[in-house]
Amino acid sequence: MKLFHLVMWRVSALLVAILTVWAVFFYWAIIEEVNDETDDSLGDYAETLIIRWLSGEEMPSKNSGSNNQYYLYEVSEEYARSYPHITYRDETVYIEEKKETEPARVLMTIFQTDDGRYMELVVYAPTIEKLDLRRALLGWIVFLYVLLLLAILAVNAWVFQRNMKPLYRLLDWLDRYRLGGKNKPLTNETSISEFRKLNDAAVVFTERSEKVYEQQKLFIGNASHEMQTPLAISLNRLEMLMEDDTLTEKQLSELAKTHQTLESLTRMNRSLLLLCKIENHQFSDEKEICLNKLFRTYLDDYQEVYAYRHIRVEVTEAATFRVTMSESLASVLVANLLKNAFVHADEGGEITVSFTAASFEISNTGEHPLDDKRIFERFYQGSKKEGSTGLGLALVDSVCKASHLSVTYRYADGRHVFTVSRS
C-alpha cells in the first residue's frame, strides 16, 4: 500500500467517525435548544392561561386555528397526586383545519384552585418535525462529508506532491539503481533536513556497497588470476611424472584421476576469469556477427562430441540474426548455450534451434522446470552434472549483458527454452 493511499484512507475513516459523532452532538444540541425554547413559551402560555382562568377572565379560544391549542379540565385528587406537577412531552396532534397530524410539544400541568379543586391544563405548541430535521441533518452531513473529503484529498495530494517530491525522487533513483552498473548521480535538492539526511544516507550506503562489490569483483579476478600459474605448474609436474615409464598402471590411473580433477579446476578458474573480464568490459573488438553461421559451425562439433547421447537436432532458420558484438564473446555465448543444451537434454532427446531476424531460441527436452530466477546465477545447478562447472549460464548472462542482448529462460511443453534477443 502506498503511503499516499494509506494517509488518504486513514483520513477518510477518521473523518467518518468524527463527523458522525459530531452530527449526533449537533442534532442533540439543536433539539435541546428547540425544546428549551418551546418549553419556555409553553410555560409562559400556560401561566397566562392559568392566571386568566383563576381570575375569571375570558379564556382565548381552545383552538387558535393553528395547532396551538389547549385543554383545561378538572381531575381527581388521586390523579393529581400520582402525576408530577408539570411534564413536557412530544406528541403528534391531529389538526382538524389542516386535516393532518403535526408534531407538537405538550405541556401538562396540574394546579389547585383556591377552593381545593385540581385542574389539569394541557397546552400544545407546534414544533419542528424531528424526523425531517434528522433527515436534513444527515443529508447535509453527507454532503459536507463528501465536500470535506474531496477538499482534504485535494489538499493532501497537493501537500504530498509538494512536500514528498524529494522522497519520491529518491525512491525512483533507488529503483533504478543497479549495483555495479552505470548509475546517474542522485540529484535531489531539498531544504528539508529529514530528506537531506535520507539522501545522504542512501548515497553513502550505495557507495559503500559499490565499494564492497568492486572489492569482491577484484578479489575474484585476482584470485583466479593468481591461481592460473600454480594450477598450470601442478598439471605440468603431473604430466612429467606420468611420462615416467616405471609407473605401474594403478599409479598411473590414480595420477590420471588427479590430473582430471586439476583440469576441471583449471577450467572452472578459466571460466571465472572470463566472467571477470566480461564484467570489466575487457572485450572491445565489436563487429557484426552472423549468429546463424556461428551456430552451424559449433553445432557440427558438438554433434560429433555428443554423438553417444543420440540427441536429435532440429534447426529452423526463418531469418538471419545479426548482432554487433565481440567475436570471442559471441563464441562464448553460442558454445555455452549449445553445451548446456547437449549436456542437459535427456538421452535420446531433442534440441531445437530457431532464428528470427531479432532473436534466436534454443530448447532441449528435460523433465523438470528449473528456477527461472536463479538459473543464471553462478554455481546454481538444477542437478549436478559430471563435467559441468556451473558457470556456463552465468557466462551466457554476462555476455548478453555486455552485448546489448537479453536472455530469458522458460519451461514449456517439457522443454527448457532459452531465448536471446536484442534488449
Binding site: 598450470a232 555428443y306 556456463g392
Partner: protein, 225 residues
C-alpha cells in the same frame, strides 16, 4: 640448442627447465631483468623464453637490447597478460612467437620445435617422424613415400602428434587443440576414440613405423617401437 628462460616465478622456471633438459636442450635461467641482460650480453642463445612482467623491468625492453647488441636470437614471449596489445607489441619488436601463461609444457615444446624447424630447414617445410612425412603447407601426408588420404580431423590429430613425438598427449588437450577451446568440460571421449581408431587403421594399412599407443586413462603417445 641453448635456451635462456627469463621468468620470475621460481616454480614455473624450475619445471620448465627440467622439462626442457629432458628434451636435451641446454638451459640457462634468469629470474629478473638485470640477470637476463647480463646473460644476453655475455652469451649467445638459440632461443629466449621471455616473461614480460619482471620484478625489475619490462621483458619487452630486453627485445630492444637484443637488437642493439645485434643478436639474431629467437624469442618466445611468455606472458600472463594475454591481451592482444602485448602480443602485437612483442611481435612488432621482433619476437618470434607468443605463448600465453600459464602454458602447457607440451605446447611449449611444440612451439620450440616448429621454431627451430623454421630456422634450420629453410625451404623444406616437412615434418618427419619414422617413415611418416607431413607437408603442412599442402596438408599432405606421405607414408613410406606414398600419399595417404586422411580426413580433416585425422590430419589435424596426426600433425598434433607429429610435433610431439614420444610425448604423452592428454585426451583433453588433444580435444581442445583439434576441435577447439569450446570442447572442454566433456566427460566422454568416444568422439576422439573414433577418430584415433580410423587414423590407426590408415597408418597400419600404409605400413607406418610409428604407432599411436593408448596410455590408460590419460591419452596417447606417438612412438616407434
Amino acid at each position: 640448442m641453448k635456451i635462456l628462460i627469463v621468468e620470475d616465478d621460481n616454480d614455473l622456471r624450475e619445471i620448465t627447465t627440467r622439462s626442457l633438459e629432458k628434451e636435451r636442450y641446454v638451459v640457462s635461467q634468469a629470474p629478473d631483468y638485470m640477470t637476463a641482460l647480463r646473460k644476453i650480453e655475455d652469451y649467445d642463445y638459440d632461443c629466449i623464453l621471455l616473461d614480460i612482467m619482471l620484478p625489475d623491468g619490462n621483458g619487452l625492453d630486453l627485445l630492444g637490447e637484443l637488437r642493439a647488441l645485434g643478436k639474431r636470437t629467437n624469442v618466445i614471449i611468455l606472458s600472463a597478460k594475454d591481451s592482444l596489445e602485448d602480443k602485437v607489441k612483442g611481435l612488432d619488436l621482433g619476437a618470434d612467437d607468443y605463448l600465453p601463461k600459464p602454458y602447457h609444457l607440451a605446447e611449449l615444446h611444440a612451439r620450440l620445435k616448429s621454431l627451430f624447424r623454421r630456422n634450420t630447414r629453410e625451404g623444406e617445410h616437412t615434418i618427419r617422424y619414422g617413415n611418416i612425412e607431413l607437408v603442412p603447407d599442402l596438408f599432405k601426408v606421405l607414408i613410406g613415400g606414398k600419399e595417404v588420404e586422411l580426413n580433416r580431423k585425422e590430419y589435424d590429430i596426426l600433425s598434433y602428434f607429429m610435433l610431439r613425438p614420444g610425448r604423452l598427449v592428454n585426451k583433453n588437450t588433444l580435444a581442445e587443440s583439434v576441435w577447439g577451446d569450446h570442447i572442454d568440460q566433456v566427460d566422454n571421449f568416444d568422439f576422439i576414440y573414433a577418430q584415433i581408431k580410423n587414423l590407426r587403421r590408415h597408418l597400419k594399412e600404409a605400413g607406418a613405423t610409428p604407432e599411436l599407443k593408448a596410455v590408460y586413462g590419460i591419452g596417447y603417445k606417438f612412438v616407434i617401437e
